[in-house]
Symmetry: C2
Subunit: 138 residues, 2 copies
Amino acid sequence: MNPEIEIQHKSDAWDMSDLHPGLRWQFSVNAGITHSNGLSCGYLQLDPGAELPLHFHKEQEIYMITRGHAELLTGATTSRAVATGDTIYIPENSWHGIKNISQSVVEFIWIFPTDTWQEVRYIFANDRLNQAQDQSDQ
Amino acid sequence: MNPEIEIQHKSDAWDMSDLHPGLRWQFSVNAGITHSNGLSCGYLQLDPGAELPLHFHKEQEIYMITRGHAELLTGATTSRAVATGDTIYIPENSWHGIKNISQSVVEFIWIFPTDTWQEVRYIFANDRLNQAQDQSDQ
């Protein structure tokens, strides 16, 4: 039997990590929650001052900003302003991150060409985060 | 040289078609406009009363509702209510469509596992639309 159309509601139940204070996320399409066949996506929110630090992964990714305005980190000392309605295409193995330098919540959608977010291996510029991630994976 | 991060702003310049009054769209990631490597997406808006009629295509697709509430068509006589924040996973070859039965604009993001929207072949339940599409392709 073919999979059926599935509707996932955005909820008030967000996932969080001590490694990234003020950052929360939820899955929208992700194998294990919904069907997925090489497409996964979800919502991420950043409180004022919070950031998803500079990192890369071998997969390409798309961000679509749905709320607020932020600083897109593109290198150790470079950034670009982004705001609601902006779509960001991030090629494979490209440094990127995002920081909320505003006074309001920032929200965006991430899209990966994978079945799951979990299979994407994040490599952070700050090696302390990589080490903490390795430990939390165990 | 690797492609670079690209930012596409949502604009007031929407594409339209006489075949679908009250429906407009714009591309966010689509080969020819941005880099794309098997991921494409964009925004679609429906005025009150407008619809993207029932259709299918061989590709899976994701809709993410960013504004308003609508009726997701799932068959000739079946539908489901969807609203802002809802993510809809549409498997390959599944009938679907969307109708704005509200008094406000509906907006959603579409996501395809393709380089472009143009390569997706829409098969409409209403054959008149297929014939018109064939003519406009020529």
